[in-house]
Each structure stands twice: as structure tokens, then as C-alpha cells.
Symmetry: C2
């Protein structure tokens, strides 16, 4: 029996999670599911977005299935109590340093993209983002009185970007190994023409490359990567980058597909334990209406079965079922187009279960 | 008589600059032009990408017209000698803190965009990027042995992101005033859910807003901004952000138009002295072939006349001439399409001169 921590969270989180759970249960696997509050919901019930009981469950579980967190109503809270601290706290506490963010354009949804169909048809890129280092967690950080710079004596805010050699090595190994399983091309994104951290990043990725001679490595500056993703996204295979640049580029890449409601993600530790969540957010504007797309969460559950639970066949059954409901023309509102059938969150979940 | 420092630089720089100079000369304005080497070219002639004579000329001039710098052949040089240090050095030495990066989609070039025509037709956004602060220039930075973090004792690279209150205030004033002259909407982009620097940025922009009640201000996280630019770029009017995020988003926005060869930029100090350069790079792959698009540099010269030299009529004549050559169907290779006439760099410059 493997234990899954189920953390639905805020906004549409509970609705999409209910469908993913339904799909997991339909597979009749040796899994125990345990629920806990997280994010704004947890703040309301216990005063903190990541309460000790939730963290403990996540630590004890074999994998975490995460919905989404956040709502405008928490905007006025101090930063340490805001919903997104739950996700940052889980990444740090569980050591989830390797974030897999696929950007895939499903054949039937090509038209949903902002880009011309020929630029995105068949798009399948994988962004690997380092997730526990960089300016996200670097100390020191805070506010102080500037002693130098343009305006000494004035108040300033500051943060520290930093990466150590072993942190870069381990994410580089993950990325090269992922590229080996795909088209054997890896693009490492940095800003080495400006940043010291990036120069070390580039040096270390280049060194690790010696152990993966079958993978073609290139380096790209982050500003250029933001452009090339728009210009010719299909030229990429696997992209590896730091936490901050990865936050920006993985969202840009996801939006290129036009169907971010379809995209799962995985955040893994050194032993393939992971947290799985849709790439989209908590969408408080449509919460409770029963119209959210549950497929990204359902596909996140599939990633979980494959990466953390060693159940690749069950994962493949979910993926095939999702392909099948798309082929049947079923669409939630976010991916609906003329000539297809608009279904609710629950109807979509039911259809996936039926297809399994 | 006003003095212009003309710095052609590397790659296609000299070719596109020759056309911009031709256009300026055709206008018969009270300007003296003085040339100097910069970037890789300057490194070769005098051992430094920004030699003292070039810096002195730029400091004495009323404005700087800049081509482009950089070539792969300088990749192996130590960072302090690489071509891009010239542009960083000029920004810092001249105090060019306000970077104006318009992303405009010309009617005749809509098809050149990666995006569907309806998403970019008539696009006209202005990204204002702070250019002398942030992690680009923040001290301390370097390599050291980590004393804390995930791997104490290992080598690490680090950089400091920082913004002081007066640095944020002055760029906020520039941005609100620019928005007042346009559609009165300003989006401030930050990562205040994670970064201390961003939280101060957001607080200060909000405070400055009180002085511009006619401008509608909203705040957006950088990852979301990278998505919204792809999803619905026309929803933006003016965007203001820091140096690092602005580097990424302004290039993304420029590429959305599909015709980055058309986009000028201005980098201004507190007294409207400025450096003007095309938004594209030095394109060493096509240097010397006479096929580069000179229009971004020609339009940068127009921006210079308007912003730094108080010659708005002359600027308008250049802009009208560029519209006219496009209407005539003349296109360099980068923007060429079936049914239009392909012209060389020199032919394009000549056509603009003729249209003036
Ligand atoms: C909510 C936020 C802190 C988070 C991040 O920046 O990592 C989110 O944008 C993400 O990408 O998962
Ligand atoms: C060349 C490089 C240092 C520069 C920057 O990052 O600012 C460039 O990308 C730009 O945007 O002008």
C-alpha cells in the first residue's frame, strides 16, 4: 500500500482534485489517499497556509497530489501567511529540486494556441526548472538602508541569487537523463553575460555534459530563450534553467500551447518522491461554477503513478483515456471550440473514468 | 550645433548605421556626427570594448546613436572584455536608467508575427525597463565558498538583486508620464510574492500612483506577464519593470510582433540625454551580406531627434518616410513575404532618403 497526500487547496482546486481522485479510484490501485488542507483554506482552518499536520502528511506520504492555491482575498495578508507560501514551503521541506514542466500541444487543441497552427502543431517540449535554490531561497534578503549604490542612505529591498556547484550538478544530471529519453537535445538557459551565478551555472552544465556525450547541449541567454520560444518553439527539446528564469519561461511555454488547462507538472526530490500539480493556477474567478478543466490534474496523477509509484501501465491507461475523451470531442469551456461538445468539470472526469 | 556620438559596433552594426546616418544627413539638421569604435571592434583596435576615447565622446555628446555589439568570436574572452560590457558600461556611466522599448506591429507586417493576425494587428505596447539597477549592477557578486544553504563548503556563484526607493520612484514617474501621453494604463511587473526587492518595488509604484490619478495602475507577477503577453498582448498599454524582468519581457514582446528588425529603443538619463539603438542584436551570421534591415536603426535616429534633440518635426518626417517605404512594398529579407519587393540594406536606406 502506497500513501498519497491529497491537497486540494483553494479556488478550483477542490473541484479538479475530486475528478483526479475519481480517476485514481477507478484504477483500483494499491493506494491509500489521505486529505489535508493547504493554502488559503488551511490558513482559514488553522492559521497557516502549510500547517504542521499537512506538512507531516506530505513528508510521510509516498507522493503528494496538489490542486492549486491562492485567492485575491488573501492579498492583504503578510507574505509569510499567504497561500503561495505553502507551495514554497513544501518544495523546500521535501527537497523537491527538480521541476518537470512539459509544454505539449494536443493535436485536437492546436487551434487554441495564440500561435499560428504550423508553429505549434505537434509541439512537445520539456522545461526542467531547478526549484529549491536561486533567488527564491537565497539569503540574505530583506529591507535595509543602502550604504552604497545610486542612492546611499535610502531604503532598499534586496535579495540574493545563488547557486552552488552541487545544486547545479544534480539538476544538470536530471536534465541530461531526461534528454536521453527524448530527442537528445538540451538547451541550458542562463544570463552568463551579466550574472556570476549564471557563469557558474554554464560552466558546471558544460562539465556535466562530458558524461552525456550522446546529448547535444547548447546554451542560450534567457532573453533570447523568451524570444525563440515565441519564434520557433518546436526547435526546443529539453530546456534546463534556474528557479527564477524557469518560473518565467515555463509559464510562457505553457501559454504557447493555448491549453494550459491540459498541462501537468512534477516536482521531484533526489529519490523520485514528488509533488504533482497542474501547471495552471487556482482561478478564483471561476471557482465553484463546475466549469474548470480537470485534465491537467488528472494527467498530474498519471505523472505521479509513473515517476513516484512505479506504475507506468496505470499511468498509460490514464493518458490513453484523456486522448480518448479529446477524440470524442468532449471539451471544458477553456478549450471548447465550434463543433465540439462543452462539458462540465464532473462530466469530463466521468468521461475519463468511463474511457479507462 | 548638437553633437551626436555615432557608435556602429559589430556584426551588422556598421551596415545599418550607415543607412541611419544617410537619413539624418538628408534632413539637413544642425548636427555634428562623430564616430567611435565600440564593442568587439573597439577591443580589436584598442584592447577594450569601451575605450576611454569612446566613453568621453559619449559623455560629451548630446545623444548617442548605437548600432549593435557582439560576435561569437569574442565568446572566449573574459567577461570584462566582452563586447556587451560596452553597453552595460555606457548605461552605467551615462546614468541611462529609463529604457523605452516599444513593441509595435506595423499593419503591413502583421503576417510576420508568430501569433494569429487578430491577436497582433494594431499592437502598440511600450515596455519601460529600469536600466541601471537590479541584479545587473548589484554588489556584492562573485564566487565564494558557501557557508550555508544546501551544500555548505561547496563553491557557489552569487549576485545581489537590489532596488532603492528613489531608483524605483524615478522610473515610476517616467512610466506614469509615458502612460499619460498614451492610453493611461500602466502595468507594473514584479515578483512580489517571492522577492523582497519586488515587494518594495510594488509598494513604491503604488505610492507614486497617488500623483497620477488619471492613470489606471495594475500589478502583475512576471510569470503571469510572460503568459499574458502571449495570450492577449493588446491588453497592455505601458508596462514598467526592473532591469532583469525587463530584459526578458521586452525581448518577448518584441518577438511577438514578428518584425524585431523594425523596433527602435531609447535609453534615457534624468535630463533626456539618451542612447538610441535598434532592439535587435548584431546578427553576426548575416554581417557583411548587405541584407540586414536598417529600419530599426533609422527609427532609433527618429526617437533621438524627438526625445533628446527636441526636433519632433524631423522625427515625424523619418517616421512618415518609413511608413511610405513599407506602403511601397519594399522589404528587407527579414520581413519579406510573397508579393512584396526584396531590397538590400542600402536600397532600403536610399528609399527612406528618397521618401523624405
Ligand atoms: C506561487 C509562486 C510562488 C510559484 C513560483 O513562483 O514558483 C508559481 O508561480 C509556480 O511557478 O509554481
Ligand atoms: C547584451 C546584454 C548585456 C543586454 C542586457 O541584458 O541588458 C541586452 O540583452 C539588452 O537587452 O540590451
Amino acid at each position: 500500500m502506497k500513501k498519497i497526500a491529497v491537497l486540494p487547496g483553494d479556488g478550483i482546486g477542490p473541484e479538479i482534485m475530486a475528478e483526479a481522485v475519481k480517476v485514481l479510484q477507478a484504477l483500483d490501485l494499491p493506494l491509500t489517499l489521505e486529505w489535508a488542507d493547504v493554502g488559503g483554506k488551511a490558513y482559514e482552518t488553522s492559521g497557516h497556509p502549510l500547517p504542521p499536520a499537512t506538512l507531516k502528511l506530505a513528508q510521510e506520504a509516498d507522493a503528494v497530489l496538489f490542486g492549486a492555491v491562492g485567492d485575491w482575498k488573501y492579498d492583504k495578508l503578510e507574505r509569510a501567511l499567504r497561500p503561495e507560501q505553502a507551495i514554497l514551503g513544501l518544495r523546500k521541506a521535501l527537497g523537491l529540486f527538480a521541476n518537470f514542466r512539459p509544454a505539449i500541444c494536443y493535436e485536437q487543441l492546436t487551434h487554441a494556441s495564440s500561435l499560428k497552427p504550423e508553429l505549434v502543431a505537434g509541439l512537445d517540449i520539456l522545461i526542467i526548472r531547478e526549484l529549491t535554490g536561486d533567488i527564491y531561497f537565497g539569503q540574505p534578503r530583506g529591507r535595509r538602508t543602502a550604504v552604497d549604490g545610486h542612492f546611499p542612505g535610502s531604503e532598499e529591498g534586496f535579495d540574493t541569487m545563488r547557486y552552488s556547484r552541487p545544486e547545479i550538478e544534480r539538476i544538470a544530471h536530471v536534465a541530461f537523463q531526461a534528454a536521453q529519453k527524448r530527442n537528445k537535445r538540451l538547451t541550458s538557459v542562463d544570463k552568463a553575460n551579466v550574472l556570476e551565478t549564471s557563469q557558474l551555472w554554464k560552466d558546471v552544465v558544460t562539465e556535466v555534459h562530458a558524461q552525456y556525450p550522446d546529448v547535444a547541449l547548447d546554451h542560450m541567454y534567457v532573453d533570447n530563450a523568451a524570444m525563440q520560444l515565441v519564434k520557433a518553439p518546436k526547435k526546443f527539446d529539453v530546456v534546463v534553467t534556474g528557479n527564477m528564469f524557469g518560473d518565467i519561461l515555463s509559464d510562457e511555454a505553457a501559454m504557447l500551447t493555448g491549453s494550459i488547462g491540459m498541462l501537468p507538472s512534477a516536482s521531484l526530490d533526489a529519490n523520485n518522491k514528488g509533488l504533482y500539480e497542474p501547471s495552471h493556477g487556482s482561478a478564483p474567478d471561476i471557482a465553484g461554477q463546475g466549469i474548470a478543466n480537470p485534465l491537467a490534474t488528472i494527467l498530474s496523477a498519471a505523472m505521479m503513478l509513473k515517476f513516484s509509484l512505479n506504475l507506468p501501465d496505470a499511468a498509460a491507461r490514464i493518458e490513453a483515456a484523456v486522448e480518448s475523451v479529446l477524440a470524442q470531442g468532449l471539451r471544458t469551456a477553456d478549450i471548447w471550440s465550434e463543433g465540439t461538445s462543452k462539458v462540465s468539470t464532473i462530466e469530463m472526469g466521468d468521461a475519463v473514468v468511463k474511457a479507462i
